[in-house]
Amino acid sequence: MIVSGGAVAIGASAGAIQMLLRILPALPKTYPLPVFVVVHVPPGRRSELATLFAGKCRIAVQEAEDKQPVIAGTITFAPPDYHMLIETDRTLSLSTDDPVFFSRPSIDVLFESAADAYGAAMTGVILTGANEDGANGLRAIGLCGGRTIVQNPATAYARAMPEAALARWPSACVLGPDQIVESLIAAVDS
């Protein structure tokens, strides 16, 4: 499969695990893009997210470490209590800057840096959640000409986050869970 230069970033909060369990395990073994994921989790020492999803996904799953090169075909979760950013040299960096909308990791921080790093080759996805984090970040990806996807609020466990994203960036594609999977796969097939 041809590895294109793009990347996918996904942000989710309340109801995240269930939604991600529908999306991430559905990505095929040959999925060629790096997938960055921010889930709002309380600052615990170790996150169980990478372990949980590693057992269920067909592509590799890891938690980010600072300065690590971006790996294609790999899902990378932001660690608890750190922001995760993408550098233009395609490495990951972390920060302990202030929380954004009470959230660290923050979806805005990831998306805004990813928009800078990947420009139009970036795809941003906002899923279920109960606050406004991610709306500015999705807009940043949209402004760079990247693809923007928002979970249909009617299908979301918590509607506030997808609704905030749509209010801030109305031209995003509004999709249900299964369509999000199809769209992520179709984009790299074409």
Binding site: R45, E63, A64, E65, D66, K67, Q68, P69, P79, Y82, H83, L85, I86, E87, T88, T91, S93, L94, S95, T96, D97, D98, V109, E112, S113, D116, A117
Partner: protein
């Protein structure tokens, strides 16, 4: 009328502006952020742009060059860090249980808290060393490039609202005393006992431009180098390597790693999960 020039695409306009701004800050004020990790510095510069009410990074640069007070504000914004007492209790538990027994074999100790910001980690170490009976033989160096953070560290006053989390972290780190033994409260703040800072040298020191200044048994530098690019991280790690005695200890943040560094071979894992390393024998 002349045709507009073609925009060459390699760097975005913003990236060019940021490089020039950081160069200006260095040339004019000798604060060197040129090798900081780009993504975070850009984020902070966007905040600075907003706070100073200017539209572009070029305009921000103009302001910084001609207005030292604004420059000082921006430098503060670029260097401010917030930590907690006993952040990542597992780290301090590992220091207590695995590193302290080694430190007890030395008659005198030097400990460097590099990038101490407002002193949360310094006070954590001072309390831990008192609990473990090492305080009297230890000299602490607490360094940062942010002078107002150093001043705050030397004052040792923290908001009462943060005490609950501090206390819980201290307990989880295996604390042998009550955190409340070390502070008194008043005027909305908790003032930590000045005896904790009696054996501390506070100093303005830059990991970017300054050199080795003493021989250390333990260096703790956590979540500081995440703001550096790899080249600068290697410089700082070289500084730590040159500062440590043989078999001296280096503690990093929980998501930092030597794996991607050119200086990785200077160190061996000591407590792998807690990112505590030991200086390799020469």
């Amino acid at each position: 009328m002349d045709a507009a020039l073609t925009v060459m695409d390699e760097l975005t306009t913003e990236d060019i502006e940021i490089r020039l701004l950081l160069e200006a800050l260095y040339r004019r004020y000798h604060y060197d952020f040129r090798n900081y990790a780009q993504a975070s510095i850009k984020r902070r510069l966007r905040q600075a742009r907003q706070q100073l009410g200017v539209a572009t990074f070029s305009a921000l640069q103009d302001r910084l060059l001609h207005d030292p007070e604004a420059a000082s504000r921006v430098v503060r914004l670029l260097t401010v860090q917030v930590s907690d007492f006993f952040r990542d209790p597992g780290y301090f538990r590992a220091i207590r249980e695995k590193v302290v027994p080694h430190l007890k074999t030395y008659p005198s100790l030097k400990v460097w808290i590099a990038g101490c910001s407002a002193g949360e980690e310094l006070h954590s170490f001072a309390i831990l060393f008192r609990e473990e009976g090492l305080e009297d033989r230890t000299l602490f160096y607490a360094t940062d490039i942010n002078q107002s953070a150093l001043d705050a560290a030397a004052q040792g006053i923290y908001p009462i609202s943060r005490l609950q989390a501090f206390t819980e972290n201290h307990r989880l780190s295996g604390g042998r005393s009550s955190l409340s033994d070390y502070y008194t409260t008043g005027y909305g703040g908790a003032v930590f006992d000045k005896s904790l800072r009696e054996r501390v040298v506070f100093s303005d020191h830059s990991l970017v431009t300054d050199a080795v200044f003493s021989e250390m048994h333990l260096i703790s530098c956590r979540n500081v180098m995440i703001y550096f690019d790899r080249q600068l991280q290697d410089r700082a790690l070289g500084l730590f390597s040159d500062s440590l005695i043989r078999n001296g200890f280096l503690g990093l943040g929980s998501k930092e790693s030597l794996r991607f560094s050119a200086r990785a071979d200077d160190f061996v894992d000591f407590v792998k999960d807690e990112k505590i390393y030991q200086r390799r024998m020469a």
